[in-house]
Symmetry: C2
Subunit: 377 residues, 2 copies
């Protein structure tokens, strides 16, 4: 067989787990990035047509392996700086008052593979998004039952997925500031159902956190422990990964809530390989979804000339609530020849999408506008 061993003379975690890096100018997508792209998946953009994303089409990012879990024996512990530590099984959680929130979730790395130079990691283009109805117990209900001590500042969530990342062996952990964890709006959930059914394995079965408005890294899956801490959490996913850095030694700002984005359902029909769209001449409905995790979407503009001119789109009512995407549409009269279509969202804080890439070393929060190449024939 092939004499190259992919593990070479590896004798330590550092040998199998390299530091983060940026691809060279001529470097194509590597086999390592491809292995992540084959495991994880985005929303096929035509699935923007569904108000709620059907199972299997919602984006998925798993850092390590999907753990083997058993709902019948699963327990969630709540501890640390609380008066009464809790241990809850699924039956106990299901006996508490539940709520359902429709939430649009997006990976913080969405858009990474379109950056130049390209940060080497899960290579998303624009499709790492989805919207689901999540049902569960408000986190503040559990924290009230446990009784948070006055010195608590952070709420640390631990999942059952275990792996190595940049040389650090870890269970996946993220924290929310206590104020966010206990806010009335957006209300953070310990969710046990997605679109009315038990969570699928890849979405955190049997329990996950849902933190409306936050990028996906905050929604800890396979949730097994919640610990209140008196000092800020300094775990790997909080202080090493998921930072907006310009260089390796830049401490960077934390990645938190979702920047505004609009995506278009690519019109017409595709070429298999190039995904270029073919449309017929005449009036055509262009439509899609828009969201922001920071403030409600207030407008979507559409360009059919690659950003030279923009026209306002009609926004549908926010039927899904504040934390769910909104539908938008315009009518375009297609004329023969090539066109590049694009859309951009603006939110109530006045934030919009850039026309030049917002680069950072981890490739986070790249909400550069989508470009949809179309040929009218």
């Amino acid at each position: 067989m092939d004499s190259r061993s992919p593990v070479g003379e590896a004798r330590s975690l550092a040998d199998v787990s390299a530091p983060g890096r940026v691809a060279g100018p001529e470097e194509g997508i590597s086999h390592e990035e491809l292995a992540l792209a084959a495991r994880n998946h985005g929303l096929p953009l035509e699935a923007l047509r569904y108000d709620v994303t059907p199972p299997g089409l919602h984006y998925v990012l798993v850092h390590y392996d999907i753990p083997l879990t058993d709902a019948d024996t699963w327990t969630l512990t709540v501890g640390g700086r609380v008066r009464t530590p809790l241990t809850l099984d699924l039956a106990a959680l299901r006996s508490l008052p539940s709520v359902t929130h429709r939430v649009t979730m997006e990976c913080a790395g969405n858009g990474r593979a379109r950056l130049t130079p390209r940060p080497v990691s899960q290579p998303w283009l624009v499709e790492a998004v989805g919207t689901a109805d999540w049902t569960g117990v408000p986190l503040r209900t559990l924290l009230a039952e446990a009784g948070v001590e006055p010195d608590a500042v952070d709420t640390v969530f631990t999942g059952a997925d275990h792996g190595v990342e940049r040389g650090v062996e870890q269970d996946y952990q993220r924290a929310l500031p206590l104020a966010d964890a206990t806010a009335e709006a957006p209300e953070v959930l310990v969710a046990y159902a997605m679109n009315g059914a038990p969570l699928p394995p890849q979405h955190g079965h049997p329990l996950r956190l849902v933190a409306p408005g936050w990028y996906g890294m905050a929604h800890v899956k396979w949730l097994r422990d919640i610990t209140l801490t008196a000092t800020p959490f300094t775990g790997f996913q909080q202080t090493v990964a998921y930072r907006y850095r310009q260089s390796a030694d830049d401490p960077g700002a934390p990645v938190t809530r979702i920047a505004p984005r609009a995506l278009m359902i690519p019109p017409g029909f595709p070429d298999f390989m190039s995904r270029t769209r073919v449309v017929r001449p005449g009036p055509l409905r262009l439509e899609g979804r828009a969201w922001s995790g920071r403030a409600p979407v207030t407008g979507v503009e559409v360009s059919t000339d690659d950003g030279d001119s923009w026209a306002g789109a009609e926004l549908s009512p926010p039927d899904g609530g504040v934390w769910s995407w909104r539908h938008w549409h315009v009518t375009w009269t297609a004329t023969p020849g090539p066109h590049t279509l694009t859309a951009r969202a603006t939110d109530a804080e006045g934030a919009s999408q850039p026309l030049a890439q917002p680069w950072n070393r981890g490739g986070f929060g790249n909400n550069l506008v989508q470009r949809v190449p179309v040929v009218c024939l």
Copy 2:
């Protein structure tokens, strides 16, 4: 905005839909291939643990777009060389006697991205597989009801997905020889349920063909028409795509049934980026699945020294039936240092997996053994 238009001066289908090609020696995975990898997805290999693949983890390949379909108004027509053309809605199909078959399905392009040189298309590594319980009406029941004329030779299946491929605009179409379409075993189904629920959109909702033992291209999704023909079908997916060719002008043999393959559940835990596995010293269970669409799997061998030596694995009983994968396992005593694990399946026809790549220009049927790099620490 960026002045490069991705559609350039495109004025015809040929301008947006290039011929098939093979990547150059230094060429990384392109953005076009990545766009396919982000839409379609494989089975995360730890999901080999499930006898039946849960929804959303089964591999998906969609040539064009997932069409928007409505089960309430959907009809399937059966025509061509039959005595009584049929038009059936879902209620009519559900009123007929149904059967459920457990079937392992694999994309014919599985393994393509590991080939050198690499055919440019959907870049699968090894993960394009899944097993489901498919419920529906035997195709031979429908053909008996329609009454096949004696001169019929091919059964042509048309899906609702529409696109362009290598310059040819088309609805997705594939044919089965009449003998295969009407065989008692393997029994071809017109399926309306997957794992006991209506088909998800990406798996052909509301109807698809299921042809046990065949690579995925035969299992036509969003099935809307079955036409019996008196001459062999010469459509694009039959005579242009899905051929084992050595060069562009080689007519090639047709891609038909699934070659034998074993896959291992990668043991231990992974590094996020390299996916290299870390295991602890001592006895360890290595396990996985093995299948062949040509004949029952009769043996699996495992190597823990990158193919220098092999030992037989224990095969579990074929509980899922003939057309479903079988579970296998061995015990391995891990010793500190790097190791490359692999497994290979053999079927009752004596076919096994090659240790050198079986190259062809389309990248089909590459059942080269999987290699799992592991470091024991």
